[in-house]
């Protein structure tokens, strides 16, 4: 069996190599799993069934036309990947890694190779914002103190944020990160979490934010700050201190990124309070008709809203008259007025609203 495969390999190696380089990693991972099924003697580890199914769908959608839906070679363009030297070689190493990773996911220890691969990728793509040690850097938080990282088990939550980004929070989407790279990143982050020295972490703790005077904060809230014009401790802010703590509460208090009607907030359900911070637009059409709805898009040239029936509608700004009411305008103005003392006092007051 093996000698037959090696023989056919040689014949196909040339075009196999060229094409195999062109296809995506998914092809490899699916083909490897196929390879694993066909050649039990060559590969001892295999991916979980769900992963294989997902890969199978992706493979048949993207690669099946040339390589056949079962990776055994399709049209004249695509070689049999099961017989590819490239796949066999990478399958050998990686199936061992995959096995080790899946075995150890619960105990959260990872093979040194995978951690090293994650470290390299993290240094290249993530370190600028999160620090080389994942302990926080230029505008990016300490990942070891992240609730999301804490809740993550196999990278599914981290993966969602990495691939989709967090719009409005400065996290770009890295949609080209493949499964293997993601696994390596997760391995590196957990490894850091275990080994992190306190001295290199850039965490803001709830206990750091207890310097304000709640009474003074209440006075500011009801007086000079003007907060009471829109907010009420028994209304929208009732129990706020139970929902948000520390830095999250402080950031939300100062300003919250405008939502838009059509935008979801991936991976952030915990903080979702839909519709409260979305500006309202009123557009007057040339006919005199007015449409009011949640602002859906705005730039210098176009205004769009989601109308009361849920439809997105847009107009060139030159054709209509419009007004936009942004409930956060007062927060923006307040940023220039706050003293640091006011800020800490109001935070202390909000922390009493349990």
């Amino acid at each position: 069996m093996m000698s037959f495969l090696l023989y056919s390999l040689r014949a196909r190696r040339r075009c196999g190599l060229v094409l195999a380089v062109l296809i995506c990693i998914v092809a490899h991972s699916y083909a490897r799993s196929r390879n694993g099924q066909d050649l039990a003697s060559a590969t001892s580890g295999s991916a979980p069934l769900g992963q294989i199914q997902a890969r199978q769908e992706l493979f048949s959608a993207r690669c099946g036309v040339c390589h056949g839906r079962d990776a055994a070679g399709g049209s004249a363009l695509g070689p049999n990947l099961l017989a590819s030297a490239l796949v066999a070689e990478s399958g050998k190493e990686r199936s061992q890694t995959a096995q080790a990773a899946s075995q150890s996911a619960n105990s959260r220890s990872y093979p040194p190779d995978q951690i090293q691969a994650g470290r390299t990728l993290f240094a290249a793509q993530c370190s600028f914002c999160h620090g080389r040690d994942a302990g926080g850097g230029e505008s990016g938080p300490d990942l070891m103190a992240s609730a999301l990282v804490e809740q993550d088990v196999h990278g599914e939550k981290i993966g969602e944020v990495v691939r989709n980004g967090r719009l409005g929070k400065g996290m770009p989407a890295f949609d080209h990160v493949d499964e293997q790279q993601l696994a390596a990143l997760v391995a590196f982050i957990y490894d850091r979490k275990v080994k992190a020295k306190e001295g290199r972490r850039r965490t803001v703790d709830v206990s750091d934010l207890q310097t304000g005077n709640a009474e003074a904060g209440m006075r500011y809230f009801n007086g000079a700050g003007g907060c009471a014009k829109c907010h009420s401790p028994s209304g929208d802010l009732a129990g706020i201190a139970g929902k948000l703590q520390g830095l999250e509460l402080l950031k939300r208090m100062l300003y919250r990124e405008n939502g838009r009607a059509a935008e979801s907030s991936p991976g952030d359900g915990r903080l979702a309070e839909p519709s409260k911070a979305i500006p309202t637009a009123t557009v007057t059409l040339p006919s005199g008709e007015t449409v009011t709805g949640k602002l859906a898009y705005r730039d210098e040239f176009t205004i769009a809203l989601t109308d009361p029936s849920g439809w997105y509608r847009s107009w060139p700004v030159t054709r209509v008259k419009f007004t936009v009411m942004n409930p956060l305008d007062a927060h923006i103005e307040q940023l220039a007025k706050y003293t640091d003392e006011d800020m800490h006092n109001v935070l202390a007051y909000l922390q009493t609203l349990r």
Partner: protein, 531 residues
């Protein structure tokens, strides 16, 4: 028959080779032309040595700019955002992102060659562009190598290492060519490392000199007060008449934890004047003495010769990340004017030397300080442009607030604190350099930084908003005359003219877009007067 088969390819190679050699002298770049760039080129990062990013081309005008059409687009096929300024010479355009350089036909956008550097662990945060000297392309890699490529085909001539990526340095700069010197500054502020600018021999890659903006950690009697950092990660400018290079330097390290680096920490957050032949320090000016907010002063030091208070002056202009606009006498580094151009709440005025006075109460603290600008700054790497006709420095700016934290537990290595953006509003601002007054503001429609700026002699500005459009504005009043929603523009625009047609190039995500007047309009512009 066999003979023909063997000889023919050889003959073809010879014919091709001789054709190639014949063209070689016309392509690439003669270093002398860097002193006076031709209109068919954009031969270096800023377009010329002054850093003005201004073009004398005037085919595209306020009257016809609404006709602009897409001449071509070039897709890199990569998701990485293009932050670089392309370099153009001999009809070839060179564009880069971390680990990649492409040579592209500047007339059509078709690919000539692609160079792919191997995967590495240097920070891939951005690449600002390549440099061109004779027939060589110089490319700084994320892991601090400088690779010299044959401009004809992208093959490697040499590859030298400037610093150890394991120590925490990385590289993103577009090198600056001064005669046979290739000046390359390093990046990296997550570790306590001295800031370095190196000069390489353009032919061999040998290091000619190194300028350290700060000494190595632990240097006795350190003039920087124990600070490291001050990396020079944006391309400097050059005054050929006095043979002086001007470089902006980065923030000190530790970045937010400043207690262990008392004093002003020269020459971090500074503008320094250097001799390009020796690397010798001539003078320095500090926009942010003892910086505690990561507001490096690497923003382009723009060289302007003109009137100031009625007298002719050789000046240097900088709109700095800390929110201040500076005019210096570049012959001695003395301040002529200091004023703010964006929201600022961290200073208590300006000292007698024109330097902002830091208010220590706004230093990062355990319980947080609300500071303006935020860490991204009032402006950043995207280039401003100076238009001599109106006397305006046009800057992509932000009014922004952030919260800054630091406590002993954060340590004293690298960042040494934490900071978070709270709110930002992007505004294009035209600063009258003689008064520092804002002539006009143009709302860019979002909170994030927008694009770099290009001005032209016809009275046009090319830039991007912070939503998703490339735009042309009227320089005199900032009015929008044209736009196209291609996506967020991530680089600083350039322009050149080939075959009598002016092209304006901008990047959005992983694609380059070349704008020009329709061919028909080009004909009318050129021959309209003969009708």
């Amino acid at each position: 028959m066999k003979l023909v088969r063997e000889i023919f390819p050889l003959a073809a190679v010879l014919v091709l080779a001789s054709a190639f050699c014949g063209r070689a002298s016309a392509q690439g770049i003669d270093p002398a032309t860097l002193l006076k760039p031709t209109s068919d080129s954009w031969p270096m990062y800023h377009g010329d040595y002054s850093g003005q990013r201004h073009s004398h081309l005037s085919q595209i005008t306020p009257a016809n700019v609404h006709e602009l059409t897409l001449a071509w687009a070039f897709q890199t096929g990569q998701t990485t955002q293009i932050k670089s300024s392309p370099i153009v010479a001999g009809g070839i355009l060179y564009v880069s992102i971390p680990d990649h350089v492409w040579a592209v036909d500047a007339r059509t956008g078709s690919r000539v060659w692609h160079y792919n550097y191997p995967p590495n662990e240097g920070s891939h945060i951005g690449n600002r562009g390549v440099a061109l000297y004779k027939d060589s392309v110089y490319f700084a890699t994320p892991d601090n190598h400088v690779v010299c490529l044959n401009a004809r085909d992208g093959t490697v001539r040499w590859n030298v290492v400037l610093a150890d990526v394991k120590e925490g340095y990385w590289s993103s700069v577009a090198p600056l060519i001064v005669r046979d010197h290739v000046l390359v500054g390093l990046s990296g502020d997550f570790d306590n490392l001295p800031g370095m600018l190196k000069s390489l021999d353009a032919e061999t890659g040998q290091v000619q000199w190194t300028f350290y903006s700060t000494p190595s950690p632990g240097t006795p009697g350190s003039p920087s007060g124990g600070a490291t950092g001050g990396n020079m990660w944006i391309t400097g400018t050059y005054d050929p008449e006095s043979n002086v290079v001007f470089e902006g330097t980065g923030n000190p390290t530790p970045v937010l934890a400043a207690q262990l680096r008392p004093g002003d920490n020269p020459w971090t957050c500074s503008i320094v004047a250097l001799n390009p032949d020796t690397g010798k320090f001539i003078w320095g000016f500090q926009p942010s003495p003892h910086d505690t907010h990561d507001w490096d002063a690497v923003e382009v030091p723009v060289l302007v010769d003109g009137a100031f208070n009625g007298s002719p002056r050789k000046m240097l202009l900088q709109a700095s990340r800390n929110g201040y606009f500076f005019v210096l006498d570049r012959t001695n580094g003395k301040s002529l004017l200091t004023t703010t151009f964006a929201a600022v709440n961290w200073s208590s005025g300006v000292d007698k030397d024109g330097r902002p006075i830091r208010n220590a109460a706004k230093d990062p603290a355990r319980d947080g300080r609300l500071v303006s600008p935020d860490e991204g700054g009032a402006t950043n790497y995207r280039s401003p442009s100076f238009d001599a006709r109106t006397g305006l420095l046009v800057v992509s700016s932000r009014d922004a607030y952030g919260i800054y934290f630091s406590k002993p537990e954060h340590g004293t290595v690298g960042w040494g604190g934490a900071d978070y953006e709270v709110f930002g509003k992007a505004v294009l601002r035209a600063i009258d350099y003689q008064t520092g007054k804002i002539r006009w503001n143009h709302d860019l429609g979002g909170g994030g930084a927008a694009a770099g700026v290009l001005t032209t002699d016809s009275g046009l500005i090319f830039t991007g908003d912070s939503v998703r459009s490339v735009m042309a504005l009227r320089t005199s009043d900032g009015a929008t005359l044209w736009h196209s929603a291609i996506g967020h523009v991530g680089n600083s625009p350039i322009t050149y003219e080939l075959d009598g047609r002016q092209y304006v190039i901008v990047a959005s995500d992983g694609a380059l877009f070349a704008w020009a007047l329709p061919e028909k309009s080009v004909e009318q512009t050129r021959f309209g007067s003969h009708k």
